[in-house]
């Protein structure tokens, strides 16, 4: 809806690629959209069955007290996944992109 409003306009593909970061690198509270799940394995397979497909918006809620796993909100529910898995998910920040 208000994805990349203004700032996202007219970026070339290379810059677009640059914006893609790992889910595990997001801070609590940040919202992002899924770009791709890099590897094929049963864990990623399950993530897709839960609806984490390309273009799905999500928000990082928090990291567990010991720093792992990570909790996200996606498609109306809250999901906990280990950072090792979150590193395989590439996302693009939504809304205001900080420099």
């Amino acid at each position: 809806m208000h994805r990349n409003r203004g700032k996202g306009m007219g970026k070339n593909t290379k810059e677009r690629k640059m914006q893609e970061i790992k889910l595990a690198d997001l801070k609590p509270g940040q919202e992002a959209t899924i770009c791709s799940l890099t590897e094929h394995n049963s864990g990623n397979d399950r993530l897709r069955e839960l609806g984490l497909i390309d273009g799905t918006p999500l928000r990082v809620i928090k990291y567990a007290p010991l720093g792992d796993p990570i909790e996200i909100k996606v498609r109306g529910f809250y999901l906990s996944l280990r950072k090792s898995m979150a590193r395989q998910i590439r996302v693009r920040l939504r809304g205001n992109i900080e420099n």
Binding site: H40, D45, L50, L58, R75, L79
Partner: protein
Amino acid sequence: MKTEQHTGKIKKAPPWVAIVGNPNCGKTALFNRLTGLHHKVGNYPGITVEKKSGRIRNSRIILRDLPGTYSLNSKSVDEKIVSDMVQSWRDPNSRPRAVIVVADATNLIRNTYLALQILDWNVPTIIVLNMIDEARKKNISIDANELQRRTNAWAVIPASAKYGQGIKEIIETLERIPDNVLLPNHPPRLVEIENYSEDIAPLEQFLEVKKDSLNHHPRIEALRLLSDSGYINYLSKFFSASELQALLDITKQVKSALTVKNIPYHNLEQSSRFAYIDLYLGDVFKKDSVSRRSMSERADAILTHPVFGPLALLLVLGFIFNAIFSWAQLPMELIQSGIDWTSAQAGAVLPDGVFKSLMTQGIIGGAGTILIFFPQIIILIFFLSLLEDSGYMARMAFMMDKLMAKIGLNGRSVLPLLSGFACAIPAVMSARTIENRRDRFVTIMLIPLMSCSARLPVYTILIAAFVPAEYILGFIPMQAAVLMGIYFLGMFTAIFAALVFKKFYPSKSVQTMLMELPPYRMPLARSLWWQIYDKGKSFLTTAGSIILAISIVLWFLASYPQQSDSRQQTSRERIEYSYAGQLGHFIEPAVKPLGFDWKIGVGLITSFAAREVMVSTLSTLYNLENDSGQSQSLIEAMRKDRYPDGRPVFTVLSVLSLMVFFVFAAQCMATFAVIKKETNSWRWPLLMTGYMTVLAYVSCLIVYQGGHLLGFI
């Protein structure tokens, strides 16, 4: 358009209905509602879970409850139960009359994925929008009629299993569905977003030929073949060997064609289904924005807070363990005196002889060991159910996961392991909440290392008798320090054992900790009751019958053979003469290096019935009457006991060795029985007994012999 075809065949078996759904969608609650309060739950031992079935209230329809799953592409053993059953629907004779797909109305998008997969089997499918009350409270509006029309489900029924809404309508709808309905083939419920249809066409065409026997759309079969290399096993019986080879070849060609076009062929079904949901069903239900903070999320700001979260966790666990010890104390004492009274009554009524001895010592005594732990088990089950139903259990796992991951387990192992301090039996049962099979079995293997409450009487009496009531450094009570050390010994060994398991039995799947954090919910009394009832009953029947059987064997060993003038003998002489006594003497050479004499050997054998039996066995062997001063006089007798050469039987080293033995040895038949039941194999309980016995023996050998070498007596 519900076109129906009657085959006209009269079936003797009653019609049945399968009930499927995502984990935590309220499926079991709905099952209980539909089958009614007095339903008969049949337990079918599966590999990891139970399949339940029951008759719908006032109906002949049988309802089969299946484990929760997110999809028909199974990733775990319990999910495979569901996908295997669905696969059997290819044969019209093994089709259910209908399928109920339970969907969480507050979370409908995700729940719809499984519903679409089920719908595509063309069996009359009822989508139950469960928790509709909660959804309405959250202002989630769902157009049930529109959902029914677009997906071509048989019916879409909003319901609340919690408050009993919609139950009548579900039953009436089920009653009206005729048997053996074959719905006309519906186009598969997916939207192709990548341009793959041309590429997979050869595969579809090949499968099209067998459409009538496969009874499943070729497009879906093709997508499953591409995503899962094991899927072909489901199709093998419909093709000849050469056809199968052709199928494999075509699959391979299609894969390479898709790879050339850079289309990820593994997840075409997922993306196509969610595209269908987003594009075709998107306006049926209001979507929840990711930005909205739910009530549970706000509660979690404290409950999983980096500082307050772990604090709250400690408080909760502390409360539960205190409750298990303190609340259970009175009922346990009552049960104990009840058993003593029954035994005394039976002793007074029955004529002297074998039967009396069997009744009072074997059967009543054996039943006693089962019943005595029952209060603790019930209390633990109650709290476990409470934690699970409220949603807090998932938060515990979330917070503890990293710690457990270090030793190759996951966050869900925490609670079963801690429960082991109370009693291994409910702890092993609570390991059911661990979805991953490998982690579940390893957790079960570690539970007996937690010093359970039955070991406490043994530790207490040994410490009271042989650890001086002095203070270390002037302020640390030595007896308490030894007791704590014994507990820590078990815990640290469990960590070590987990690492050994991690090395030799590593986790194969990556899906170790993908977990939904459900919203906090108020637990329902009736659901708690049913969980306590089911688990309590299954403990009493399954573990109970094995315990009873072993008790009788142990009674036999301790009572036979008898000498002709057995009346005149003391109980010590009788036991010494019995098989158990002979066995004690027989194993004496084996236990001597550990610092034990034959009497302790007998105690080790009898304590297999239950660990605290060690104390009563020793009392019997020291010819003590069962009076109130028992422990005091037992301590005296143990201190005074000497070997023929005048050495004391119990020294600091042999007592330490004995305590170490109790920490490690798997001497509890109830645990053995419950592990046999929970893993549905002899392999795991035998492995548990094996590794723990070796561990116990070697450790005691090191303690006793090592102590000697270091100059202790």
